[in-house]
């Protein structure tokens, strides 16, 4: 690419507003990238001219984070999510289809017209919609290879690309019924904002007085977009005080609730018509006519037998929510995420006031210690103890950091919490900071969560305006300021020392612990680093007391845990369960098990640092110790259900590919060790495994686990070690050239059986002409040309195409 014409004054202006210290470097680079879609060389040079930041530092940082590009990019970014849930649901095939659609050659990421730049992203946190593609800020869920053309067309028709989801605020009028629409990223991706608009239009037209309230994630992601309608109770209770049906709202006396799932804008109008029938006979007659027409239109789209009004008192909804306990998700689905007044009405802010004015730091720390709360970020370190160490560490300046760099593919709890209950997290952070003796707090939130970033920023402003944050809070004399720092795309920054390095404007390289951040953290000062979920638990804990919290859970794992339940499960979503619940209860009880005809094989718990627990062990309780004994970890709470079509070697390879790519590159064990492990796993999946590969892999995995510098490397072998422990047979099969799950492309072949009706659909679907169309005759697949993209099989009306495995002669053709 040639020299670009960049206006140096723009760079100057960016630096002017971001600051000139090293800690401002990442925001500066983010702003430049935002402006030019990449980092032009002149801009980088200009930064080193007008700031004291060393040129070496600028280059090092610019090349460390995935978010930054040094090459010009196309006008629109196409992000294909390769999170765990997307992977098991076929992200690789979607990626191939996208590349085919744009005509990208090997190693190319931008199409010839400079229109689209395709990126693989680790996880966009919309796992229940897997596989997911994001084009220019618009999220598309349940993408199939066949559907790729469609989403590009839709995107093109949309003309101007909506670059972000607009902030939603409560709208409509009246004290009457309240209509709640989820506006989390997943809901929005499935069109909840359009549904909201349609509802508003319909209300306006029908003249009904009702409020449409945007609410945070309800957790029932598999049914999104959800619309809940609540009428005020028989008593004086206003509608807004009625809990969501999903939190047992039907139990509140006299309240009437209706719940709709998978609502489209079109159906939204009908909901209004149904629920609020207008008076007047004539009017009604017209409406009946209109409804008849409408129903036809709807029924075309809604598969037969699928009701769109949900019964929440029994059946699936009840199963889904029955076992859940809402601590962190207490007000999800009830409150407008940014309505501070509503938050205050449900008792929000009281805990912070109580800590500040009544309890004091020491008593609060004692309470948190007594509650048995352990960090929800993965390692499970006792939270109260962390605060106490930070508090006791010498130093005038201390910091509190909220770790919102939720990078685990397959996990999105923190995104949901930040998007849905930002005030709660901030309240928790304020308490943590106060207890630790820190008057400055930073929330480090990953850049892939733009909505969370925006909501938390806005929430800080509103809390400051209300006097909950800032100087001399509640007249206590205590001051606390919080700010948001956006990550720039590096999984390793979820490791606390790497996160702190990133906050200081450096490459996110972890450092050896000890010293722990609590002793020596941000800028060398004692720092308490707590996870989003941990902080969101604090207000509840302070409000209800240590006993209420420790009353839930097991001996060493107290309270509740939020999980992102995804993968091959019928009811995926965000759930909060008491510790000690068994995996089976989660998967089969809450999640409804796997799809009919499939077999529940294992759960992957804890993401790239966790492991696979086989179905046979699914009576294992969710508990820090029990999970780690089984070789997995609690992790941040990703729970991906796998069925018999999932190959465990492939799963291990998937995670190693991830950790290998995300390794910071500092220590030999992780930088080279993960790559060497990946190489062996790739060999196995490619059918080139050697006899001693399994032993070599196992021994290397142990070495990497015990020798790596930070938690990323130490836990990276877990997916390998657990699959080796529970599914060694499958590894051996791969050495013999078989993939029992029929997943690994090099070890399978597609064959057409006699059931073929000669409809030629497979031949038309095949992107590489591996099938010759022969109408009314049995078709044949050329194994040399076949890329195992599965398009023929998934489109075959006669189910005549089956997958065979075993060592085969022909190589897999490269697409």
């Amino acid at each position: 690419m040639g020299k670009t014409d960049i206006d140096i004054r723009e760079v100057d202006a960016i630096v002017e507003s971001a600051g000139r210290r090293e800690g401002d470097l990442i925001p500066i680079l983010q702003a430049i990238q935002e402006k030019y879609r990449y980092l032009p060389e002149e801009a980088l040079r200009r930064i080193s001219e007008i700031t004291p930041i060393r040129p070496a530092t600028i280059r090092g940082v610019a090349t460390f984070y995935d978010y930054f590009r040094l090459q010009p990019a196309g006008r629109h970014h196409v992000c294909v999510c390769h999170g765990t849930a997307c992977h098991v649901k076929g992200a690789t095939r979607v990626q191939e289809a996208v590349e085919r659609h744009l005509g990208l050659a090997e190693g190319q990421d931008t199409d010839a017209e400079g229109e689209y730049t395709v990126q693989k992203v680790a996880c966009v946190g919309c796992c229940t919609l897997a596989p997911v593609v994001v084009i220019g800020g618009a999220t598309y869920g349940h993408v199939t290879p066949q559907g790729v053309r469609e989403i590009f067309e839709e995107q093109r028709c949309a003309g101007r690309i909506q670059d972000s989801i607009p902030y939603a605020a409560e709208s409509g009028v009246g004290d009457g019924p309240e209509i709640r629409v989820g506006i989390g990223s997943c809901c929005a991706a499935k069109g909840s904002l359009k549904v909201r608009d349609a509802l508003l239009r319909a209300l306006e037209r029908s003249g009904v007085k009702a409020r449409v309230r945007p609410v945070g994630c309800i957790g029932m992601c598999y049914e999104t977009p959800l619309v809940e309608v609540v009428w005020p109770g028989s008593g004086s209770e206003p509608a807004s005080a009625v809990p969501s049906a999903l939190q047992g709202g039907w139990q509140s006396g006299g309240a009437r609730i209706a719940l709709y799932r998978q609502v489209t804008p079109r159906q939204a109008e009908r909901i209004v018509q149904d629920l609020f029938p207008p008076a007047g006979r004539l009017h009604r007659g017209f409406r009946a006519l209109g409804r008849a027409i409408d129903r036809i239109a709807i029924e075309e789209r809604v598969p037969a037998g699928q009701r769109y009004e949900l019964d929440y008192r029994e059946g699936p909804v009840c199963e889904f929510i029955g076992r859940q306990v809402h601590v962190v998700t207490e007000h999800c689905g009830l409150l407008d995420p940014l309505d501070l007044e509503a938050y205050r009405r449900v008792g929000g802010g009281e805990s912070w006031r109580k800590v500040l004015l009544d309890l004091g730091a020491d008593a609060t720390i004692t309470m948190v210690k007594k509650s048995g709360l352990r960090g929800r970020g993965g390692a499970g370190f006792p939270t109260g103890e962390k605060w106490a160490v930070t508090r006791g560490a010498p130093g005038m300046v201390k910091f509190a950091v909220c770790n919102g760099d939720e990078g685990d593919p397959g996990a999105f709890m923190d995104r949901m919490i930040l998007e849905s209950v930002p005030y709660r997290v901030l309240e928790g952070l304020a308490i943590a900071a106060y207890c630790a003796g820190a008057s400055e707090g930073v929330l480090y939130i990953r850049a892939e969560y733009p909505l969370a970033v925006r909501r938390v920023r806005e929430a800080i402003l509103r809390m400051e305006a209300a006097g909950w944050l800032g100087e001399n809070i509640h007249g206590s004399g205590w001051s606390f300021r919080a700010r948001v720092m956006e990550g720039a795309g590096a999984f390793v920054c979820g490791e606390e020392t790497a996160l702190l390095a990133s906050l200081e404007g450096r490459r996110g390289m972890p450092s050896l612990r000890p010293p722990y951040p609590a002793e020596k953290g941000l800028h060398g000062c004692p720092t308490t680093v707590n996870n989003v979920e941990t902080l969101a638990t604090i207000p509840w804990l302070v409000c209800h007391g240590a006993e209420a919290f420790s009353g839930m859970g097991t001996e060493h794992s107290k309270g509740t845990k939020v999980f992102a339940l995804t993968g091959k499960v019928r009811r995926g979503g965000l759930i909060e369960v008491p510790m000690g619940i068994t995996i089976r209860d989660i998967v089969e009880g809450i999640g409804g098990g796997v799809e009919a005809g499939r077999v529940f094989k294992a759960v992957q718990i804890g993401g790239p640092s966790g492991g696979c627990i086989p179905e046979s062990m699914s009576d294992l309780p969710v508990d820090f110790e029990a999970l780690s004994q089984a070789g997995a970890i609690m992790g941040s709470g990703g729970l991906v259900v796998l069925d018999d079509r999932d190959c465990m070697v492939d799963i291990a390879r998937f995670f190693l590919a991830f950790t290998q790519d995300q390794s910071c590159g500092q220590c030999s064990f992780c930088r080279v060790g993960t790559r060497a492990m990946l190489e062996i796993l790739t060999r196995l999946c490619d059918g080139k495994g050697r006899r001693d590969d399994i032993d070599e892999l196992e021994s290397l995995a142990h070495q990497v686990a015990s020798g790596s510098l930070c938690a990323l490397g130490q836990t990276a072998p877990n997916p390998v070690l657990t699959t080796l422990r529970y599914f060694r047979r499958e590894y051996e099969a791969h050495v013999e050239g078989r993939c029992p799950a029929r997943r690994c492309a090099a070890l399978i072949r597609y064959e057409i059986s006699d059931r073929c009706i000669g409809c030629t659909r497979c031949a038309q679907a095949c992107p590489v002409q591996a099938i010759e169309p022969v109408p009314y005759r049995k078709h044949r697949i050329d194994p040399e040309k076949c890329t195992r993209c599965d398009l023929c099989r998934s489109g075959c009306p006669a189910k005549a195409i089956r997958i065979e495995t075993g060592r085969i002669e022909g190589k897999v053709a490269q697409p």
């Binding site: 460390f64 500092q666 064990f669 190489e679 290397l700 015990s706």
Partner: protein
């Protein structure tokens, strides 16, 4: 020291160290040696190579000693099997991404493992006497081999991929014939003191070679030749006109000058028995050539269909103190192979006589690039002489003129590592017995060499990402400095955007070259002495 220190036990030794010390500091105090690569006193820890891992009682994982802070009462072990295995694995991982040659491929292809690139550099610099010393270190008869050697080294020469191999053999002949001419110095180092008496049987290339190196190793050597003439199989070459007699005589004279006593016309097995020799000498080396050609020196020795039986990979025969080398064991037509064999037998015999560990040189760890791409080769050749190979056959009477020799030697691309003799990575690989190919990726990283700095070279393939150069450039306040670019396995060391190496390193070159634990950063012009 005052009592305020921290107590720590390392490998059973108790020491006290001041607060703030690392385990490595404590180990030094306890006189326990812990290997390091990325550590340097005065620099902040790199925690990158992880070869310094140790086991701390109560911790499940291993920790890097270079950065782990000592806490009072710690108990540390540094020599357990687990620790050693982890260190070896760490080394093997570092070596997996190490793209570089320790030795030149030519040297690897030479049966006598002569340091050919060094010889060529010495010739190119006009230091012919030094070149002869280099040859003589590994080859007992430089001029002779300059005439008759089939030059397997040239088949490995990387220059072949650019145009044609360097005329190594001619260059060696030049060194052998012209070296020492003016100074009268044969290029022989002074013999070591404290030797024993050794008999060498057979005056061919293997026997002569063995005698020379035994002599240089300090032993008193008597060489017995059954015929009247010394030279063995080489005499055929003289007869065929491939080797002037004077050349053979001169090389033998140089060996005689070191003090080897040469007795011709004494046939062991006829005039003297092997048992008699064994009584008079502390050791006997049999280099009697192909057996069909003469009487058996020792009928009591075990044999194979091809010659005398020796231990696997060595030279010991079935009789104590009796060694065999050259065609007596395995017939060879290549004089250089016989020479190499004789030399190796000399070292093993020396080890037997001195009964010391380490007397026999073991092959060093050798990192190998193998095949290189055309683009990489061109990069390699950039600073070598651009002329084509000199057109002259080895057997032509006219050898190279000094100018020709210098120019031809200048064609060498310096494939051998500039730090081959001073590489901490290589030393440690030897020490830990690391297998360099264990984790080698299927596709290796591209080789590149940065030449833009006036004094130093940067070969990224040899870099182990220890970051010492980066830390030093920070410490020494280099204005532009160096940085890691990229992440994970793609991490590289580089100057900032738009800055070259010459702009990045203004005054810390000496320190970073010295600190670099591998050949990644080296002086452009290495000394040829």
């Amino acid at each position: 020291m005052s009592g305020s220190g921290l107590r720590v036990q390392i490998d059973g030794r108790n020491v006290q160290v001041p607060a703030g010390s690392t385990l490595l500091d404590a180990a030094k105090r306890a006189d326990v040696s812990i290997p390091t690569l990325c550590h340097r006193d005065g620099c902040r820890p790199g925690t990158s190579c992880m070869v310094c891992v140790v086991q701390v009682q109560g911790l499940k994982r291993l920790v890097p000693a270079c950065a782990y802070p000592v806490r009072d009462g710690m108990v540390v072990e540094t020599g357990t099997e687990r620790v050693l295995q982890a260190r070896r694995t760490a080394m093997e991982l570092l070596l997996a991404e190490h793209v570089g040659d320790c030795e030149g491929p030519c040297r690897r292809g030479c049966p006598a493992r002569m340091n050919i690139p060094l010889m060529l550099r010495q010739i190119a610099a006009g230091r012919i006497d030094r070149a002869l010393v280099t040859v003589r270190r590994e080859i007992s008869m430089p001029a002779v081999l300059g005439w008759v050697c089939p030059a397997p080294c040239e088949k490995h020469c990387r220059r072949t991929g650019v145009d044609a191999p360097v005329a190594i053999c001619l260059a060696k002949r030049f060194a052998g014939e012209k070296g020492g001419r003016e100074s009268g110095d044969w290029g022989m180092p002074p013999p070591r003191p404290g030797g024993r008496r050794v008999a060498v049987v057979g005056g061919g290339p293997a026997g002569l070679s063995c005698s020379l190196y035994l002599r240089l190793l300090g032993h008193t050597v008597e060489l017995f030749e059954a015929g009247e003439q010394l030279g063995g199989g080489l005499c055929h070459s003289v007869g065929e006109g491939r080797l002037p007699k004077s050349v053979l005589v001169a090389d033998i004279e140089a060996i005689r000058c070191t003090g080897v006593v040469m007795r011709t016309g004494v046939c062991v097995g006829v005039d003297k028995t092997l048992a008699e020799l064994r009584e008079r000498f502390a050791a006997v080396v049999l280099a009697t050539g192909v057996h069909a050609e003469g009487p058996l020196p020792g009928p009591e020795l075990a044999r194979t269909p091809r010659g005398l039986e020796v231990e696997k990979g060595g030279f010991r025969t079935t009789m104590d103190g009796v060694f065999a080398a050259g065609s007596a064991v395995l017939p060879t037509r290549m004089a250089v192979r016989a020479c190499a064999d004789g030399k190796a037998a000399a070292f093993q015999c020396d080890g037997f006589l001195r009964q010391e560990a380490g007397a026999v040189p073991v092959p060093r760890f050798d990192s190998v690039i193998r095949r290189m791409e055309e683009q990489e080769l061109r990069e390699y050749a950039r600073e070598a002489d651009g002329h084509g190979r000199i057109q002259r056959a080895v057997s032509e009477a006219e050898g190279l003129s000094p100018d020709e020799a210098m120019r031809e030697a200048g064609r060498c691309m310096h494939c051998d590592c500039r730090k081959a003799g001073d590489c901490r990575l290589r030393d440690l690989a030897d020490q830990l017995g690391a297998r360099g190919r264990r984790f080698k990726p299927a596709v290796r990283a591209a080789y590149s060499i940065e030449r833009d700095h006036p004094d130093l070279l940067f070969e990224s393939g040899k870099c182990i990402r220890c970051g010492l150069c980066i830390r030093i450039s920070e410490l020494r306040k280099e204005p532009a400095g160096l940085t890691f670019v990229g992440r994970g396995a793609r991490t590289q060391v580089s100057p900032p955007t738009g800055v070259s190496w010459s702009g990045a390193i203004l005054h810390a070159a000496a320190e970073i070259v010295e600190a670099c634990p591998t050949g990644a950063l080296s002086w452009k012009n290495d000394r040829v002495s």
